[in-house]
């Protein structure tokens, strides 16, 4: 709805879930990305251009987008934990991993968007930071680090942002306890029940 790029031809949509060769990008930015970066895979996600790249390439891709393609803003950096997925979107040519780091870019000047996704293995959840290129993602990367434990190399201050500093664990991971965490005071002698009456 908010995507300005024209809807792709119907045949482009049909072979989304089919294994085999990746469809040719109908989006010119995505085409440029796929041409410039070896191993980049284009995917048409409900009419939005998405490019899968290797995690180590993320910063190069961002630099390319900013300097060559006039992408003025990195809107958002987030991540997904695919540990417990029922059925998962399979994109031909992409090796699925547990984590996905997702970056959304917007070019105000060309009025178009693109999404870049990197598959990050659970064994080594590290990606290069985008803060040197787009300083605005600083908070977002801290949030992803805080909630999902993905390390952004080169971030000037990769600390917890939403949870208390002395929190342990990364709550948005699927295997982190979801509910009913007791109140954590320093020096809290325990729940109130049964002590007031003493």
């Amino acid at each position: 709805m908010s995507d300005p790029t024209p809807a792709p031809a119907d045949d482009a949509r049909e072979d989304v879930h089919e294994p085999g060769a990746a469809p040719a990008p109908w989006d010119e930015v995505a085409a440029a990305l796929v041409a410039a970066f070896e191993g980049a895979v284009f995917h048409d996600s409900h009419g939005q251009p998405v490019v899968y790249v290797a995690p180590a390439r993320l910063a190069h891709v961002a630099t390319f987008l900013r300097d060559e393609q006039q992408f003025t803003t990195c809107l958002d950096v987030t991540a997904v934990d695919h540990l417990l997925d029922g059925e998962r979107l399979v994109v031909a040519g992409v090796e699925p991993e547990r984590f996905e780091v997702v970056a959304n870019f917007l070019s105000h000047l060309r009025n178009r968007r693109i999404r870049v996704i990197a598959e990050v293995p659970a064994a080594d959840p590290t990606v290069p930071s985008l803060t040197p290129i787009y300083p605005g993602v600083s908070y977002a990367e801290r949030e992803v680090y805080d909630l999902l434990g993905i390390v952004f190399e080169g971030h000037p201050d990769l600390t917890r942002i939403l949870m208390p500093d002395d929190w342990s664990g990364h709550p948005l991971r699927k295997d982190d306890a979801p509910a009913r965490v007791p109140v954590t005071f320093k020096g809290d002698p325990g729940p109130r029940v049964g002590r007031v009456a003493e």
Binding site: S2, N104, L109, N111, P132, P135, Y139, P156, D157, L162
Partner: protein
């Protein structure tokens, strides 16, 4: 599209010619490392103070760490997370039907924008079309919500800067807006009215009159504010030239909404990438050149007037028909059928206990909330609950503009800056 788009293109052309470097400045760093402790004893000593998290002039539970040299802010650093609610985790436990109950509590000053972006994302994954009446009703509600939000800004901004009577005036009009929203949705806030597939109920009888009356009341109200503040010398003294930010800085920091527009960059998703039926209504994008607190106040005041314009057109052009899609997968059977048909009852029960299944996929949808671009990144795995629901809160990014705005200014200006960024902490911390 109107001259606004030409303006963006003009800025873009200038980039090519090199006249104006419209490229994010990468050397801008908003998060310095941990601050050294015990630095600067004796001469030129600086002091680190905390504003908040419990402080009247910060909006909600924002905490700002400031390093002061006398009364001048040397560095400022917002500390957030005091309202972290784990909504993104909760969203993974809720079905798609229940999901909008959850997201509406994020940006609680303009709940409709949250519901809208979430519902649109679900509909996109489902490939469901929304009937025209729902589209227009959503637009009407979104604009009413924008009015309520900007009226809240006028109230709190006035109070923070010292025009305490604005607090009462702003709330007076906002209360009227909430009354109309309550009439339509049943709740004053956190409506949970926009849902995947349409809206929860049809517009009630007599909504047109209520809405038109509201428009008149609010119009009178903003005239009052204009008289009270715009040429008020104290107000001008407190806001003009305070908290200046440039277009390049704003773009580099991912800032959107009125703050970006105050720097002379007329970017509004409603115009640039129209959603709902914004391409069929007539309104202007308000923008100014200076990027200071006064401009942000003026933009928001002007946007209330534009919203009124859109609301009036919605009243005129509201189509008849269904208020939600007739796709059985998403929409429960009508009340009358439940009473007579067992299948309908089971269908209804299943829809509200298990929810509907959404095919595996991912999408990012964004709309223009009163604070800027709100986005929803939604990943589904073919079950009834999302794998990941992430909201890109505009306030979360806008907050980063505080550092460049505050540095080198007085403490009193810092209050004006916080207020004019208009962050809603529920959306920042989620």
């Amino acid at each position: 599209m109107s001259d606004v788009w030409e303006e963006v293109e003009r800025l873009g052309r200038q980039t090519d010619e090199g006249a104006q470097e419209l490229r994010p400045r990468s050397e801008l760093v908003v998060t310095g490392g941990p601050w050294p402790e015990g630095e600067g004893e004796g001469e030129g000593e600086t002091m680190i103070i905390n504003m908040g998290p419990q402080h009247p002039s910060t909006h909600g539970v924002l905490r700002v760490m400031m390093e002061l040299d006398g009364e001048t802010v040397v560095r400022a650093k917002p500390v957030i997370g005091y309202l972290h609610t784990g909504m993104e985790k909760t969203a993974e436990q809720l079905t798609y039907v229940q999901g909008s109950t959850n997201v509406t509590r994020m940006d609680y000053a303009s709940p409709i924008a949250n519901e809208l972006v979430f519902s649109t994302a679900v509909e996109r994954l489902l490939d469901v079309e929304v009937p025209p009446r729902a589209v227009w009703a959503r637009m009407l509600l979104a604009e009413l919500s924008r009015m309520a939000s900007h009226l809240l800004f006028q109230a709190s901004n006035g109070m923070d800067i010292g025009a305490v009577s604005m607090m009462l005036y702003g709330w007076r009009e906002r209360e009227e807006t909430l009354r109309v929203l309550e009439m339509i949705t049943g709740l004053r806030m956190n409506h949970n009215f926009v849902r995947p597939g349409g809206i929860a109920a049809d517009l009630p009888d007599g909504w047109q009159r209520a809405v038109l009356e509201l428009c008149e009341i609010v119009e009178r109200g903003i005239d009052d504010y204009d008289t009270l503040l715009t040429s008020n010398p104290i107000w001008v003294e407190r806001t003009v030239g305070v908290g200046v930010i440039t277009t390049e800085q704003a773009l580099a920091l991912g800032i959107s909404g009125p703050i970006l527009r105050s720097t002379g960059f007329p970017w509004d998703l409603r115009k640039a990438q129209p959603y709902l039926a914004y391409d069929q209504v007539d309104f202007d994008v308000i923008y100014t050149e200076n990027g200071d607190c006064f401009d942000r106040y003026r933009i928001r005041l002007g946007e209330i007037a534009e919203s009124i314009k859109i609301v009036r057109q919605c009243v005129d052009m509201m189509p008849a028909g269904d208020y939600r899609t007739q796709d059985k997968k998403v929409t429960p059977p009508p009340r009358a059928r439940i009473n007579e048909s067992m299948e309908a009852l089971i269908h209804h029960f299943k829809l509200f206990t298990e929810g509907f299944r959404v095919p595996a996929g991912e999408t990012y949808v964004s709309v223009e909330s009163p604070r800027g671009e709100i986005g929803c990144y939604l990943v589904s795995d073919g079950t009834g609950k999302p794998v990941r629901m992430h909201i890109r809160g505009p306030s979360f990014y806008n907050l980063q503009s505080m550092e460049p705005m505050m540095e080198g200014r007085l403490v009193a200006d810092a209050v004006a800056v916080i207020s004019s960024v208009d962050p809603i902490l529920g959306e920042v911390d989620r």
